[in-house]
């Protein structure tokens, strides 16, 4: 059965949040949606995840800030942005105006900064959810990245959860650069995360063999793109499996990492993701988020699911059945 337009129910539920479909942009790969709106109506997406915003305006890092690698890229933007006030006034207002659902990503260099940012957003209309980008250095802890340490990660989540109304779900975005992602996931969920976004970029370096120095001015960068999809699928799988095994409470997972097509998105969904973000691939194909939505809908329908949510985590059930009948 090949379909031009899928009619399957694509409603995605992330805790208390209901979205018309599971497709989102990825933080830092869509700015605040305005530029992509030239190519498609961003209101048609499940949500627009905005670039991680901090309190003050930030210039970002020195350039070059990017290096292309095999099936991927490194970036070292340094969270360039206008600061929370300008963000709320201009970007959030614009998203509201065009009828887009905004998942606002926040970043801080201290627990206090995360809390303040969340408090500032708590009463703003049009915030569908908050995503905390904990892949930033914790100034109080020798610059160690929050996401790499369960107690640091948990303290951010708890602080943010405390100032947000219950109507706004909190997603904790995890880094794959850890020995045990389930441990970090469990710490975030215990601290009150309503969902988990996986994965942020992997730490990488690329060297310019002509200039014989690192390509990125900032030395290290985040690796993203199709190259990392197997790592994203693995992280989602491990956390979903741990939830199924009762090792941590079940919360929704938002998948991100190397999605180029609807079938790539389906990989993440079958592993356990109930929403999917498209990041780097939007640089190559600006209409990718919407294209992937349609391709995913078709793929879900062709596989005989009556609704998108039925496909979430389905590979775990297939595997359990196969092992059971062995």
């Amino acid at each position: 059965m090949t379909l031009d337009v899928a009619t399957v129910d694509m409603t995605a539920r992330i805790g208390s949040l209901t979205l018309p479909n599971p497709l989102m942009t990825a933080s830092g790969c869509a700015a605040a949606g305005r530029e992509l709106h030239q190519f498609f109506d961003v209101g048609e997406l499940g949500a627009v995840v905005t670039k991680s915003v901090m309190t003050a305006p930030r210039s970002g890092r020195d350039t070059p800030r990017m290096a292309e690698t095999d099936s991927g890229m490194l970036n070292s933007i340094g969270l360039q942005g206008p600061g929370i006030d300008a963000f709320v006034e201009k970007d959030l207002a614009w998203l509201r105006e065009v009828g887009a659902r905004a998942v606002v990503s926040i970043a801080g260099s201290s627990v206090q900064e995360f809390r303040d940012l969340a408090a500032r957003l708590a009463d703003e209309p049009g915030v569908a959810a908050i995503e905390v980008n904990i892949s930033c250095p914790n100034v109080a802890n020798r610059g160690l990245v929050f996401a790499c340490e369960p107690t640091s990660a948990a303290s951010v989540v708890a602080a943010v959860r405390a100032v947000l109304p219950p109507t706004i779900p909190l997603l904790a975005k995890l880094s794959p650069d850890v020995t045990d992602i389930v441990e970090i996931a469990a710490a975030c969920v215990s601290a009150g995360a309503d969902g988990l976004t996986m994965i942020n970029t992997l730490l990488g370096i690329s060297i310019d063999v002509d200039r014989m120095r690192p390509r990125l001015a900032g030395l290290t960068g985040g690796l993203s793109g199709p190259a990392v999809r197997p790592v994203a699928v693995r992280c989602i799988w491990q956390v979903q499996a741990a939830m199924l095994a009762g090792r941590l409470p079940t919360v929704p997972i938002v998948g991100v990492g190397g999605v180029r097509t609807g079938l790539d998105a389906l990989e993440l969904v079958l592993a356990g993701a109930c929403a999917v973000q498209v990041g780097t691939v939007a640089f190559h194909d600006p209409s990718a988020p919407l294209r992937v939505r349609d391709e995913l809908a078709k793929a879900v329908q062709e596989r005989g699911f009556s609704s998108f949510m039925d496909a979430v985590g389905h590979a775990h059930r297939v595997l359990a059945t196969a092992e059971g009948t062995r």
Binding site: E35, M54, P57, S59, R61, T63, C136, R211, T280, F283
Partner: protein, 298 residues
């Protein structure tokens, strides 16, 4: 074939293009690409971002090229011409494509060269393939009654592009090469002051390598002309969503900001660019840049 149009008037579209002509020109490959929807609204100074490597390629990012010229009303739709130097793996792929092959195009992108409201004398300066967008610009300027003088520079003769076109589109055209293999030996800036003065030019348009743009800005300013320069920064997206292509530019309020050269450029007023920020291939964020202070905490 219906012509795709941007959801923003004059904005970019993404279109499955097709190469309809390829020609070798010196060290460059000149491609004509059927890309309906791109040509119709493009203006000189804008660029296109082309996908490279074909299906299942490991090269994820598009490559950017100045639009050399457009033909909005071909038989099959609008076409866009680009001039490509074989500079690396992606451009190598492009320069080895044949007629009939598909090329995905996003464009037109970026801000065009601002045009003078009244007829003014203009000097156009191009380095290497940086001359590509200038002849179209020259035509548009002359239509508005402007005098146009062109300076073409390159490392060597084979890296010059458009010597004949320059002669056709200008009052005077001057060629310089670093090695003296054609025209005057030396840099474009060796002759620029003289050409500005002779034409009594008030605007200098330039496209080429960073170092050249800086020098052009200095000479133009010294000779009382405004420099409008089209820069070339490494771009991951070309459409304003990634923040990789930024450079320090001073705004009307005297504040320097890291602006995206893909959407707030590639054309900037030369005297607003903080040229001193580049050293050894690294573009430093100036200490007085908006938001630089916040970077010091981490």
């Amino acid at each position: 074939m219906s012509v795709p149009s941007s959801r923003r008037p004059g904005g970019p579209v993404q279109v499955a293009g097709r190469i309809i002509s390829v020609r070798r020109v010196g060290a460059y490959q000149h491609l004509t690409i059927l890309a309906p929807g791109v040509a119709e609204t493009a203006r000189p100074g804008q660029f296109v971002a082309l996908a490279v490597g074909g299906e299942r390629t490991g090269m994820l990012l598009r490559r950017s090229f100045s639009i050399h010229k457009v033909t909005p009303t071909g038989v099959y739709g609008g076409t866009v011409d680009v001039v490509v130097a074989d500079a690396g793996r992606g451009t190598h792929w492009l320069t080895t494509r044949g007629v009939g092959e598909p090329v995905d195009v996003v464009g037109p992108l970026g801000r065009a060269f601002p045009l003078p409201k009244t007829p003014e004398a203009c000097v156009l300066v191009g380095g290497g393939y940086g001359t590509a967008p200038l002849f179209w610009l020259a035509d548009v300027l002359r239509e508005r009654g402007c005098r146009v003088d062109i300076i073409l520079g390159a490392a060597s003769e084979d890296r010059l592009f458009g010597v004949l076109e320059a002669r056709r589109s200008s009052t005077t055209s001057t060629v310089t090469t670093d090695d003296g293999s054609a025209g005057t030996k030396g840099r474009v800036t060796n002759v620029l002051g003289e050409v500005i003065d002779r034409a009594d030019a008030s605007v200098v348009y330039a496209c080429g390598p960073m170092a050249m743009l800086r020098a052009v800005t200095d000479v133009a300013t010294a000779h009382g002309a405004v420099a409008q320069v089209a820069v070339e920064e490494s771009m991951a997206c070309g459409i304003g969503i990634c923040m990789t292509c930024v450079m320090p530019v001073e705004g009307p309020d005297g504040q320097t900001r890291m602006l995206r050269s893909c959407v707030e450029g590639p054309v900037f007023r030369g005297d607003t660019v903080r040229w001193e920020s580049w050293q050894d291939g690294i573009g430093r964020v100036p200490d007085d840049c908006v938001g630089a202070a916040a970077m010091r905490s981490h």
